[in-house]
Each structure stands twice: as C-alpha cells, then as structure tokens.
C-alpha cells in the first residue's frame, strides 16, 4: 500500500457515503430555505467572509485564535489593512525596488512545483518589525534641476511623450525627443511614482568599437576588429569612489566608502550603494557608471525618505513556509544577496532544461518525415475531440528550509507607493533562497490570488498525427 493509485483506490472504497442508506435530500429543502428569514449572527457572518476579509476584520490577530488568547504587541492596531498590495509588480520606472520582483515573478516554473519543509533548526518564534513608507521628497522639477546641476546638463524641463497620471515621467535636457536614436545630448529624467527614481544618461559615450575589418561580397562582415580597452582614459578607482560619494550624498544617500560596492575593470566601472534603514540594507540603490571613454555614462538614484509607520507582529520562519508557494507574499530583497548567494541563477538554468526522453538518442530521430499511406491515415488519425489535453503535471521538488534571515523587503502598493516591510530570507538545502513577507495577516491587503495562478502548461496533443 504505497503507490498513489493504491491509496486513491483504498480511499474511494472507504468513502463513508458508500455504505450510507440515507435518502437524498428533497428539493423542498430549497423551497423552505428561500422562505426563511435567516439572520446570520456576527460570528457566522464573520466566518463566512473570505479569508482576506476576515484578516481585515481581525487586524493583527493570528487566525484561528480567539482574542482572549491572543498576545498582541502591536503598537498601532489596525482596523483596516495598512497597505493594499499592487496586483502587479510591473511599474513604470527602471531601477525600482521591484525590478527583481518583476523578473522573479515572471520566472514561471512550468515543470517544477516546490514543496517546502522546515529544517530542524528553523525558528518557530514570531516577533515584530517596523514598517516604513518611502515618501517622495521635493517636486519633479526641483529634483531634475538638482541632478542637472550636478551633472552639468543644459536644457529645459519637459514631460515624457507617454506621460500620464499613472506614469508621470519628466526629463530635463536639450533634446525634445529623449528616446530618439539621434539624440546625443545628455538628459536627466525622473518618474514621479514609487521612489521617484531619477536617471542621468549620457548617450555621447563612445561604446566599445565594433568596426569591421573586411566585408564579403554579400556585404556581411568577415572579420571584426577586436575592441581595445582604453584604461588610460578612465578615472582611477579612488577618483571614481570620490565622485560616487559626492553624487550619492548630494542626492540624499548618506554613505561612506565602506558602504559602496565597486565594480572596476579596464573597460570601465560602476559604483553602487544601497539605502540603509534601521541598519538594514534595502533594495533601493544608487548607481553611477563610467564608459570606456572615462566619462560618466549613467547614474541613478531616488528622491525619497523612509518614514516609520509603526511596529507590527510578524510570523516565524516556520510559519512563513506556508507562504513560499504563494508569490503574492514576495518582497524585493537587498541586492547584495544576489551577489553573495548567486546559486539561484545556476539552479534555475539546471531546472529549466527541456524535458527530453533520456531513452531517445539523436540517432533514432528520423531525418525525413514518413508520410502515412492513405489506408493508415483513415484509421490512424482520430476525430478531433473537444476535450482539452491533459495538463503537464509539474515535478514536485522538496526543499528543506535550513535557515532564515530577517530583512526589510520592498513592496509596491496599489497607489504606486513603495513600502519596506519585515520579511524573511529563506535559505534552502539546495543553496538558493526565497523571500517572504513576514507580517501577520491583515496588515497587507493582498490582490486577488487568481491573478497569480500558475497554470500548468498543456501537454503536447498526441491524439492527432503519427
């Protein structure tokens, strides 16, 4: 009695309804119901609410526990959710805290389904954590003027061609066409939603040369000239660090050299620093980069401050495991994790290899299709059916969560604002990690879970052909 089919058969046989000799209910029960003057009590109305609505009503209480037994350390008890989570992590600005979230959420895993279990050392203790709202500072015009002065950009203040209230983008520069391919003058831009991300872009930077040495008769390049680095044009690493500190501190990020991540080579380099809130690095980052000609080619930052909203209860890592298979509980982690623990990318490349029958070798694949004879065709090709092909069942992979680290995770709300909320970085026994918001239910209003349904891919329809 170990196979799934044997268990299913045994369960069906043991169905308590099989041996029941109860008469089916009469339709009169329905008529009587429609005549009843049933008034649901408060408890019944509460229980019949959706899970989300119950969370709203209870605020900070843990589900399944009566108020009299709950231990609440919430400073600001909520009657309604504090945050309405955005239904989609798509956002109009680049370099936002949700860019990684977008990438991760779009990583559909059609062939694998993960089952998570708690390691023996995983903590079962909940706690509490501070929530921060990232509040935009200044105005689009004042921010662009400051950045333009910093990078010595000439021009005037304009709206992006696709400007809308949902996508409020502004730029400052000489060109009226910020995306034009012929535009060679630098511009600064800002998207006035989320963290008010600003950008400096200098398209006049000479990219690595891709000249062609010889062209064939058909006009295609036969031999490319290998590009040559020009490190003599680059600033020194210490000069780049000094410039980064100047730009970052002038634009609202108070950092020192020890806070910087420097990536430098003979081709160019970049300096990155994360916003730190309450001694915790966040996914909000500033960046400045140099091209091979030694000029600053790109920079970005944010015009925002973190405003503490209150302390709220959080669930334990063990409890958080139940959320790992629900992507609506995802939050953007600090970027240093991607560099410190890059295993996730190597793992995904292994898991996403196409499913092939290991028994079929390449030599068995026929080079030419074999046309069926007319007599074979008549019987071999069944009538198309209206039933849908059976979906591919995902392979279930069991992962043990071996440890968890607390972190501030970035999330977007439905109004286009960004919050930093307590969360867990959950490390599994395969060496990669996932993030989970750790706030108890009721603080965040989740979007419709239907939107995040992960539908299995349909199987190849093998009923036709061959």
């Amino acid at each position: 009695m170990n196979t799934p089919d044997e268990l299913d058969a045994r369960l069906r046989k043991a169905d308590p309804a099989n041996k029941a000799k109860t008469e089916p209910l009469s339709a009169e029960i329905l008529a009587a119901a429609s005549k009843s003057k049933l008034r649901l009590g408060l408890t019944q109305r509460f229980e019949l609410l959706s899970a989300r609505a119950r969370g709203f009503a209870l605020g900070g209480l843990v589900s399944g526990t009566a108020a009299i037994l709950a231990v609440a350390v919430v400073v600001n008890p909520v009657q309604t959710p504090l945050i309405q989570l955005a239904a989609s992590y798509q956002n109009p600005s680049n370099g936002s805290p949700s860019s990684e979230a977008s990438a991760d959420k779009m990583m559909s895993m059609p062939f694998f389904s993960y089952e998570y279990v708690a390691g023996s050392n995983l903590s079962n203790e909940g706690g509490s954590g501070q929530i921060y709202k990232l509040v935009r500072t200044g105005t689009p015009e004042s921010v662009l003027q400051k950045i333009a002065r910093l990078f010595e950009v000439q021009g005037s203040f304009k709206k992006f061609p696709d400007f809308s209230e949902a996508n409020p983008g502004y730029f400052f520069g000489e060109s009226d066409d910020p995306w034009g391919i012929d535009s060679v003058s630098p511009i600064v831009s800002v998207w006035w939603s989320g963290t008010a991300s600003w950008y400096y872009s200098n398209p006049s930077d000479s990219s690595i040369s891709t000249d062609c040495r010889s062209i064939d008769a058909e006009g295609f390049c036969e031999e490319w000239i290998d590009p040559v680095p020009t490190p003599e044009l680059l600033p020194s690493k210490s000069e780049a660090i000094a410039k980064a500190l100047e730009v970052f501190n002038a634009t609202g990020l108070a950092v020192t050299e020890s806070d910087l991540r420097v990536d430098w080579s003979e081709w160019g380099g970049s300096v990155t620093a994360a916003m730190v809130v309450d001694n915790q690095p966040t996914s909000i980052e500033w960046y400045i980069g140099w091209g091979s000609d030694g000029e600053i080619s790109y920079a970005q930052g944010h015009s925002v401050v973190a405003q503490a909203v209150g302390t709220y209860n959080t669930i334990s890592p063990v409890q958080a495991i139940d959320r790992l298979d629900q992507w609506i509980w995802y939050g953007s982690p600090p970027s240093y994790l991607y560099e410190k623990y890059p295993a996730i990318y190597s793992d995904m490349s292994v898991r996403n290899e196409p499913l092939v029958d290991p028994e079929v070798s390449e030599t068995e694949v026929t080079a030419e299709p074999i046309e069926p004879s007319p007599s074979e065709t008549a019987s071999a090709v069944p009538e198309p059916t209206e039933t849908e092909p059976a979906p591919v069942e995902p392979q279930v992979v069991t992962l043990t969560i071996v440890r968890a680290e607390s972190a501030l995770l970035g999330i977007w709300d439905a109004a286009g604002d960004v919050w930093l909320v307590p969360g867990w970085i959950m490390f599994n026994d395969e060496g990669w990690w996932s993030t989970v918001i750790s706030l108890i239910e009721g603080i965040i209003a989740l979007p419709d879970p239907d939107i995040f349904e992960i539908e299995p891919l349909p199987a190849e329809d093998s009923s036709v052909g061959n």
């Binding site: 009695m1 268990l7 169905d15 339709a27 329905l30 019944q44 389904s113 279930v396 992960i454």
Partner: protein, 175 residues
C-alpha cells in the same frame, strides 16, 4: 478562472443574482443535492443530515448574491464546511469550552471511515484536520484541484502541494 468586472451599461452579476427568484434558486441548486447529502453523510450522523442541510441552504439563499457562477458546488462546500465545523464545536463545547478555540474541523472523522477500513481509520486519525480536509475534498468529494482550492480559498498550486504532502503522510502512516 472566474473574475467579475463591472461593464458600463450592463447589469452586474451580483445584481442579477440578487434578483434570483426562489424558483431559480431551487432550479440551480437541486442538481447539487446529492453531493451535499453525501458531504454531510460523511461527517455527521444520519439524523443530523437534514437539519444541517437546511442550514446550509438557508445561508446559501441569504448570500446568494455572492455565489460564483460556475463554481456553485465549491461555494456550497465552503458553507457546508463552516456549518459542520460549527455543529461539531457546539456539540463538543458542551463538554469543554476550550474546544471553541481549536482549529475548525469539517473533515470526515476517523470514526466515519472505521466502518469500511479499520487500519485506514487509524492512520486517518493521526492526520491533522487540515490534512483530512484536503484529502476528503479530493478523494471523497471528488473535486479537482482548482475547485478544491476555491473551497479552501487558496491557490490551485498551494492546494496541490498540500494534497501531495497529506497523501504522502497518509501513505507513510499506512506502511
């Protein structure tokens, strides 16, 4: 997947259902009576089936505007789960009021299964109420993962994982 959108110029689904007559209600839910009968038979004594069924359909009538079109059975099962769980708690709370604070339990009990398969019943008793619930929705109520997920208000993927874990545990207990 059912979603609802208000379209300008069209009567919303909710307002249409609110206008449902008793005859329409009977016509819609008559075909689901056998399933609700079996649902209750699996969980309560025969003498209690009709009373609890009346309760379920009274609630369904009261909240008929919330019934999702095409998913009436999972929606009824959800109501039925509350009714059964409350009934059990009410009965047991007469003996011990702390029962009121335990997790909701609306799955068939080990005693319900014992008549057919004693060793399965013993293993079933060692499952948590949530584990019994997911297995019963799949194996007894014979719902697919999507409909079962609607009963429990979780994603289909989450239900599939919970079912897989629960069945694996049950197989382990039986081996």
């Amino acid at each position: 997947m059912t979603t609802y959108r208000v379209v300008s110029g069209e009567t919303t689904f909710a307002s249409r259902i609110t206008a449902m007559t008793p005859e329409e209600f009977t016509s819609t839910y008559r075909q689901l009576l056998p399933q609700i009968t079996k649902y209750l038979v699996r969980r309560v004594s025969h003498s209690e089936v009709e009373d609890l069924a009346s309760r379920i359909f009274e609630i369904a009538w009261t909240k008929r505007s919330e019934a999702p079109k095409g998913f009436e059975l999972p929606w009824l099962y959800r109501i039925a789960g509350f009714v059964v769980a409350n009934h059990r708690r009410t009965e047991k709370a007469k003996e011990n009021f702390l029962v009121l604070f335990r997790p909701r339990d609306s799955a068939p009990s080990a005693e319900d299964i014992a008549l057919s398969d004693l060793s399965l019943s013993e293993a079933w008793a060692k499952l948590t109420p949530a584990e019994r619930q997911v297995i019963s929705l799949s194996s007894f109520e014979d719902l697919n993962n999507a409909d079962s997920a609607k009963v429990l208000e979780i994603s289909t993927n989450a239900f599939a994982l919970r079912l897989s874990k629960a069945k694996a545990k049950l197989r382990g207990l039986l081996s």
